[in-house]
């Protein structure tokens, strides 16, 4: 038994099935408790009133959006280097969740911006970077869907994701630079100690988003395995496939 055993789609498929249920349950439980803590139990913010509570969704989404891009590029790099099918499928299944998180971060950010800054959209450095990141995700997804042959799509998206991941820090720094150049003082809510209840809620939500991302990615990777390995013998042996016949 070696650790590469699960690099084969046939071995990984049932394992992923078990992991999905574990992470889905964890994500649901943490999400419910986290929202109760964040929306009811945590105290109100002195300056921002209740509108600050959007951070329980905004902060985890923004973190996941950036983190998932790196993870996606990592799997694509492995797929390019080692020519492994499963890592390309992992990367492919991460992209939509990453794009969703980016869109969520932008959406919640602008809802927070209205009461705080008085406008839905501010050319703030973080929001601008998130917008560019959304375009990068959509580029990978669009390129994938434009290529018919999945093996070619894996490699092409791999090159794009790696070029993207080299550029993400450069784009981020350039936007920061541009922002300080034109706005002088950045809009900031100021440093203050965070209430322990607020922190608990936030941490729970962060873990909930983590587990949700893992669960949904594994669910999607199972669907991709079925689609791309259709015709392989082990698939026709699966009980869920047999039941369809």
């Amino acid at each position: 038994m070696n650790s590469f055993k699960y690099a084969s789609p046939a071995q990984f498929y049932p394992l992923a099935g078990k992991l999905v249920s574990v992470f889905a349950v964890l994500a649901t439980v943490l999400l419910i408790i986290g929202l109760i803590v964040g929306l009811y139990l945590a105290p109100i913010d002195v300056t921002q009133k209740d509108s600050y509570r959007i951070i329980y969704v905004h902060v985890p989404a923004a973190w996941m959006s950036m983190f998932l891009y790196v993870v996606m590029a990592f799997w694509y790099a492995i797929a390019l280097g080692a020519n492994t099918r499963l890592s390309a499928m992992m990367a492919q299944s991460i992209a939509p969740t990453g794009a969703l998180m980016t869109a969520l971060a932008l959406w919640t950010g602008s809802f927070w911006g209205k009461p705080t800054w008085g406008t839905y959209w501010e050319w703030d450095a973080r929001m601008t970077s998130e917008l560019v990141l959304l375009f990068l995700y959509l580029g990978v997804i669009a390129l994938r869907s434009a290529i018919d042959d999945p093996r070619r799509a894996d490699k092409a998206c791999g090159v794009l994701a790696i070029v993207g991941v080299v550029n993400v820090p450069i784009i981020y720094m350039s936007v920061q630079w541009w922002n300080t150049l034109h706005q002088g003082a950045t809009i900031s809510v100021g440093e203050r100690t965070i209430d322990s209840m607020m922190l608990t809620g936030l941490l729970m939500m962060i873990f909930a988003f983590w587990f949700y991302s893992i669960a949904i990615t594994l669910m999607r990777v199972r669907a991709i395995i079925l689609e791309r390995e259709a015709g392989a013998n082990w698939i026709s042996e699966l009980s869920e496939v047999k039941g369809q016949r």
Binding site: F135, G139, R151, R152, N167, I171, W178
Partner: protein
């Protein structure tokens, strides 16, 4: 079993062998092709001029406002002009089989690509740089600003060609035509160049030293020169597979 004597026994080229010949082969061939279809080149340059001229028509042509907008408009137009010609950078060679022959040449593919990119810059990027002072008149830019704008474009437009080549290679032969997909892939990568380029002109108004912006643009050019030809050749090999 050995190769018969009538054929040269060729062992593998060492890394970088023939890179210079490859570069000049691609550069000279693409320039010659461009000269044979000059009308097409002219249209691309006209596109740039028209885009720049359209902005003042969309608002009150107030001198102060134009002065503020000018550098940004010229830079965005340069981005679009570069993008417009990119979809054809490899598409013709891909369709007629030349790209196959280039990939099978004993010369390094990345050097051939660099030659093609250099030709692309000379035919689309350089005219943009040279036309900038003329078009700046429409935006009432001062001599100092025009000088900085030209310098920025001179360093920045090669980066546009280099990064764009990656996108052009990735979208080769795709049914969606590649045009709009190419824009989606490439324009986000252009963001830092746009920011540093336009900021260098703004800098003189604020009395900020322009050299830091030029240094950043130059660093971008170096990074693109080192990385982009390899990413592009990987993408071309994927497209041919």
């Amino acid at each position: 079993m050995n190769t018969p004597a009538s054929f040269p026994t060729r062992s593998a080229y060492a890394f970088g062998d023939g890179a210079l010949s490859a570069f000049s082969w691609a550069l000279r061939r693409d320039l010659r092709l461009a000269m044979r279809s000059r009308a097409e080149l002219g249209v691309q340059i006209l596109f740039y001029i028209i885009v720049v001229a359209l902005f003042p028509l969309s608002m009150a042509p107030d001198h102060q406002l134009l002065l503020l907008l000018g550098p940004g408009v010229l830079w965005v137009a340069a981005l679009l002009a570069s993008l417009l010609s990119l979809s054809r950078l490899f598409a013709n060679d891909f369709a007629d089989g030349t790209l196959e022959q280039m990939a099978l040449s004993p010369w390094p593919l990345s050097a051939l690509i660099l030659g093609k990119v250099a030709a692309h810059w000379l035919t689309t990027g350089l005219p943009v740089v040279l036309l900038a002072p003329l078009l700046s008149i429409q935006y009432a830019l001062e001599a100092e600003a025009v000088k900085v704008l030209m310098m920025g474009l001179l360093i920045g437009t090669p980066v546009l060609s280099l990064l764009g080549a990656i996108g052009a290679a990735l979208t080769l032969g795709l049914r969606s035509g590649g045009g709009s997909l190419l824009a989606l892939l490439v324009l986000p990568l252009y963001v830092p160049i746009l920011i540093f380029g336009a900021a260098s002109v703004d800098g003189i108004r604020g009395g900020i030293d322009v050299s830091s912006n030029f240094a950043l643009l130059g660093a971008g050019l170096l990074l693109a020169l080192v990385g982009a030809p390899f990413a592009t050749s990987a993408a071309i090999r994927i497209a041919l597979d």
